[in-house]
Symmetry: C2
Subunit: 314 residues, 2 copies
Amino acid sequence: MSAPAVVGLDVGGTTTKALVVAADGTVVHQENRATAHAADPVPGLAAELDRLTAVAAAQGLAVVGAGVVTPGLIDEATGTVRYASNLGWRDVPLRAALQDRSAVPVTTGHDVRAAGLAEQLLGAARGVDDVLLVTIGTGIAAALVGGGRALTGGTGAAGEIGHAPVRPGGEVCPCGQRGCLEVYASGAGVARRYETRTGRARSAAGVVGGLDTDPVAREVWADATSALADALVTATLLLDPSVVVLGGGLAAAAADLLEPVQAGLSAGLTWREPPPVALTRLGSLAGCLGAAAMAMASAGRDVELAGWTAVPAR
Amino acid sequence: MSAPAVVGLDVGGTTTKALVVAADGTVVHQENRATAHAADPVPGLAAELDRLTAVAAAQGLAVVGAGVVTPGLIDEATGTVRYASNLGWRDVPLRAALQDRSAVPVTTGHDVRAAGLAEQLLGAARGVDDVLLVTIGTGIAAALVGGGRALTGGTGAAGEIGHAPVRPGGEVCPCGQRGCLEVYASGAGVARRYETRTGRARSAAGVVGGLDTDPVAREVWADATSALADALVTATLLLDPSVVVLGGGLAAAAADLLEPVQAGLSAGLTWREPPPVALTRLGSLAGCLGAAAMAMASAGRDVELAGWTAVPAR
């Protein structure tokens, strides 16, 4: 009899990441592919699940469940993606449609919430019941864990910290509002603000790379970390997390991100200690690992899940 | 055999409110007293519980539990009030000390969270699983209910929305920071800002009373409701509540509070509907009713509690 495994699929605007994870938490297969932007995404994803099940079988593993996570507004009860702008999806009944075409039980969820689950299970928030994970990539979103449970909100839209008005009356956001956190602190925002000031296109990573030599880079980055710290002050006051985890692509800035954010959070709180702020330990695989963990839990294999340890990103 | 009842006690900085509530939810006794600021608050509160138990007995009711709620930072697991500035308390083991001196089972909790529970059970958020209650009195605090459960945070300090930096670099708050929500929108903040501009002392209620005739009152109140709306935009994006309830003393401003806050919240959200915003239906009794409800639940009488209906404030 084959040993059990699960598939995790993290469908992003640009890249779809896939993992096959054995019951003991070992990642036995990992791949990234360009996301196919088909009119109906379901057949392609179902084929992907079949292919990954075959990959597992070739390694002597039987897939007992698949977790598929996406960005956007998600109805967790029905597994419907109500709206995902980066994917161009609207009202896709993802779980039901995939389940119709798949031989394995399918679980669906939200990418950032899945990353929060993974950080809580395996990463920088391991074993902590009150967690705020903020992923800083092209945009900014958060996963909230309160009292050990993921908070999804009344309409599945909790965690949209990227559009918090941290600078009222400030610069215009693509969303139409002014002064949103993403204007200043997202990858897209940092790149745009640098280009506006210099006329030179540079990625957010490039801006971080220029901190030692480029005063404009320093100014743009200081605005980013200051805006992020202010948003974390508000989120800390509201939610009182025991740890704040910073993930997403900009977490690669490491100390250049962590240190000013810690300092700003500390300075913004008078009568309470700031929570510790940590960088993700799972990197860009957090969402996909969370999807796999959801599948494992959904298959009733909580015992195995409890034994998962930090999985090195391959 | 006597019919069962519970006692609710809401210990505030100025006033301590007490209720005796029969198992069917009927308020059979209500009183407000000046809070005694004793070095050790426990003997006075224990005597108050004894007296209320006697009041109940005189009406043929047997008290099966008491709920006592306070402001401050509370360790919910142990029932210890770690710090309550308005009461001058630090590290008071409230539940254990009261239980030692009381013949009835004692439950303790946080005043605003208790008010949130009451609104969810009996009031403006009845039966809703994701609720944000914001109480606007001398200060501003929030109770968060997510997925049907009260969110307390990692250190029992969740809900401190009053010090969210809604106006970065703005006016100085008594807490030492700048631009906190309370600076603009609390009762104390509204009164202080009015007096700074006019040299005339006026309560926040007095400022609201002058909206038709006094341009300074209009300006100060517009700043208050705008700051509150911005804080609710951020809280809505983070938490996605199904309803926002406005309580506390300033809820008496009714439409003068509700309408500008609804308009500001709506204007600050682009790509999602705003949640409905409602005024408290329980008024200043919300915390005390929540304390009584906690006692009823703690006594294992969830069946009775489910039958409680909106209790008119007496």
